[in-house]
């Protein structure tokens, strides 16, 4: 029983890694309606910026703040300069642009900082918390706390503020939004900026555990995508819970189902999602898509 609980707890810790990036994906989707394939690479790039500043002698908190600011501004710039001009060209075209961005940002990071592996300092103290035979590192607890705080903040933003309302309106119905005076362009830029900021946050949260190289987020992106889909693409809480579920199922399958094996364990969460989506197509927490006929 203890072992089972430990595996579950480990799964939540792993899931939190995916959840951090999933939040950024959900934010981008909620505020602009597209999936940004380059979200992970942008997060990695911002993490490298933080690393570079810290390695050059700046204190960690300053490096982080600077990296977050860089990510925010960078996200806004990308929206304005790269995405806006092709906005009318259709979802798939936009997705391919983000694919090009993925390749570009990944190569740029490698060119600037090299392809070698390095460490990244954790903002949490080291050490392990124990409760009844089950252990969880302080770092993982910290990540979970940060995720939940972000979910709460996002919830506040979108449900309780005029700005959040404007952002949601701009994403759902740009034309009508313009008619009521919402600066749609500004809202989109803001959405990209915030998502990039969340991505940077995800990067600095996971880099201490996964270690920092240009492929930091490459493997995480799929899991984040899966977590967001499971939770419902328009729900921040769903993204986090969905990611936890994925972490847990993956770990359970890896531990208890021999046939799966470590090489195929990535299929388990994907199978889980498939089943869930067949039953509840908009995800666990998402709102069903309503279209006017």
């Amino acid at each position: 029983m203890e072992r089972f609980l430990q595996v579950v707890v480990d799964g939540i810790a792993d899931g939190s890694i995916y959840g951090a990036l999933a939040l950024a994906l959900v934010l981008i989707f909620r505020s602009t309606g597209i999936v940004n394939f380059a979200q992970g690479e942008m997060a990695m790039f911002a993490t490298f910026v933080a690393w570079g500043l810290h390695d050059g002698g700046r204190p960690l908190w300053l490096a982080l703040v600077a990296a977050f600011a860089f990510a925010f501004l960078g996200g806004m710039a990308i929206e304005r300069l790269l995405i806006r001009p092709v906005e009318g060209a259709g979802t798939l075209t936009l997705v391919i642009v983000t694919l090009g961005l993925f390749i570009l940002v990944n190569a740029a990071a490698g060119w600037i900082w090299g392809f070698t592996n390095r460490g990244f300092p954790s903002i949490f103290p080291s050490g392990v918390a124990r409760l009844g035979g089950v252990e969880l590192s302080i770092e993982s607890l910290g990540i979970i706390a940060v995720l939940l705080a972000v979910v709460a903040l996002l919830g506040l933003l979108f449900q309780r503020t005029k700005l959040g309302l404007a952002m949601r309106a701009a994403a759902l119905n740009p034309d009508s939004s313009r008619l009521v005076g919402i600066r749609v362009g500004r809202m989109l830029m803001l959405g990209w900026g915030l998502a990039a900021l969340l991505g940077a946050l995800a990067g600095v949260l996971v880099a201490p555990r996964l270690f920092l190289d240009v492929n930091l987020m490459g493997g995480v992106l799929v899991y984040a995508f899966a977590g967001a889909a499971l939770g419902g693409f328009d729900s921040p809480l769903g993204a986090v819970v969905g990611s936890w579920i994925i972490g847990v199922t993956e770990n359970l399958a890896g531990t208890y189902v021999g046939a799966v094996g470590a090489d195929l364990k990535v299929l388990v969460p994907l199978a889980v999602i498939f089943v869930v989506l067949l039953v509840r197509p908009s995800g666990l927490f998402g709102s069903p898509e309503v279209t006017r006929v």
Binding site: F29, V35, L82, P85, V86, G88, A89, G90, T91, L92, T93, V95, I96, V97, L99, G100, L101, F102, I103, L104, V105, N106, A107, A108, G110, W111, V222, F225, A226, A229, F233, G261, D263, L264, V266, L267, L270, I273, F274, L277, L278, P281, G283, E289, T291, V293
Partner: protein
């Protein structure tokens, strides 16, 4: 200079089309005798990718679905051909239809449940396909050769043909690619194509008009998987070697990029896109080797920015400035609205569709 007006379906139209087609065929057939062998080999790969991209275009461009996992069907096609040749000693020409049949069936089987999902969720499950492929290949190593890959004996040139292996492979692939292109053109212009476009443009209206969405969508998915499977089989024959590294996620993304760059929803787009994904990385490297990845990514973005309709879209707008193909005035007072056909049925009165 205003464009020349000709009537659609009229004699001048048909002549021009015939000439264009003839020009394409002559150029394509003349390639092996004019270019150096390396370029020849690359153009063979281009044709292989074009066939696979064609399938994806059917799915994405015409039917508005998305698949991030076409590399998986390509891999299945390649390994089917490889396994049949190496382990079952089949003659190589039979492996191509075998690959097509298998991937058609698998595509249909996958499509039926998967296509109940929409948009992003479909993207995710197809992504799962792409990710699952290399580990699964490695898992069944007795069959697939596992991590080391498998060498595939290449076709031998028949004695009566005065060409070498490279030229023969090119002509072989061409002889499969051309019918595949014609078939695709046929599919899209006929009933299935119209049904697809109606679903893509307005699914609910299409249903009320009698289109069986689920069947049509699954059929398209199956067709597109079959195209990828044929491409894969040709890939194995051309390369003479299959390994899991060839069928990674980047391949699925490359196919997707190819159809967007080439021109979504066009038949010719697949060829342009395939040319792009084969040659541009090479050129990117020549500009600056240290910046290869950056240049490729930037080029991808730049091309889409400059040509949102893809290369085919660009060529079409160029052609439109020279020659305008106009609908001849309707005969007999038939309505020129949009009429949607049930898939496979012939059109009784000649409904016209808005230009894509």
């Amino acid at each position: 200079m205003s464009p020349v007006r000709i009537d659609k379906g009229g004699r001048r139209h048909r002549t021009l089309r015939g000439l264009a087609l003839l020009a394409v065929v002559l150029v394509a057939a003349g390639v092996p005798f004019n270019s150096d062998r390396v370029v020849n080999g690359q153009l063979t790969l281009v044709l292989v990718y074009a066939v696979a991209a064609l399938g994806l275009n059917l799915l994405v461009g015409y039917s508005g679905q998305i698949s991030l996992g076409h590399g998986a069907f390509f891999a299945i096609g390649a390994y089917t051909a490889a396994i049949l040749i190496v382990r079952a000693h089949w003659p190589y020409p039979l492996t191509v239809p075998a690959a097509a049949l298998l991937t058609f069936a698998l595509g249909f089987a996958f499509g039926v449940p998967a296509l109940r999902l929409r948009g992003l969720y479909l993207a995710l499950v197809t992504l799962a396909l792409a990710i699952a492929t290399p580990p699964l290949i490695k898992r069944f190593e007795g069959l697939t050769g596992g991590v080391q890959g498998m060498s595939v004996p290449q076709p031998t040139v028949p004695g009566w043909l005065p060409v070498d292996l490279d030229q023969f492979l090119y002509l072989l692939v061409l002889s499969v690619a051309v019918p595949m292109f014609l078939l695709a053109a046929n599919l899209t212009r006929g009933g299935l194509g119209r049904a697809l476009v109606s679903i893509r443009d307005n699914e609910r209206a299409a249903t009320t008009m009698g289109v069986d969405r689920a069947r049509v969508k699954s059929r398209v998915f199956a067709w597109s998987a079959a195209y990828a499977g044929v491409g894969g089989a040709l890939f194995a024959l051309t390369l003479g070697f299959v390994a899991p590294e060839s069928f990674n996620l980047a391949l699925s993304f490359a196919f997707l990029a190819a159809i967007v760059i080439g021109g979504l929803g066009t038949v010719g787009g697949a060829l342009f896109g395939a040319l792009f994904i084969e040659f541009v990385p090479q050129y990117a490297e020549r500009v600056n080797q240290a910046l290869t990845g950056m240049i490729y990514g930037a080029t991808l973005i730049a091309v889409i920015y400059l040509m949102p309709g893809g290369i085919a879209g660009l060529l079409r707008s160029v052609r439109r400035r020279l020659v305008e193909v106009a609908e001849p005035p309707p005969a007999g007072g038939e309505p020129t609205g949009t009429a949607v056909m049930e898939a496979g049925a012939t059109s009784p009165g000649g409904g016209r569709l808005p230009a894509m």
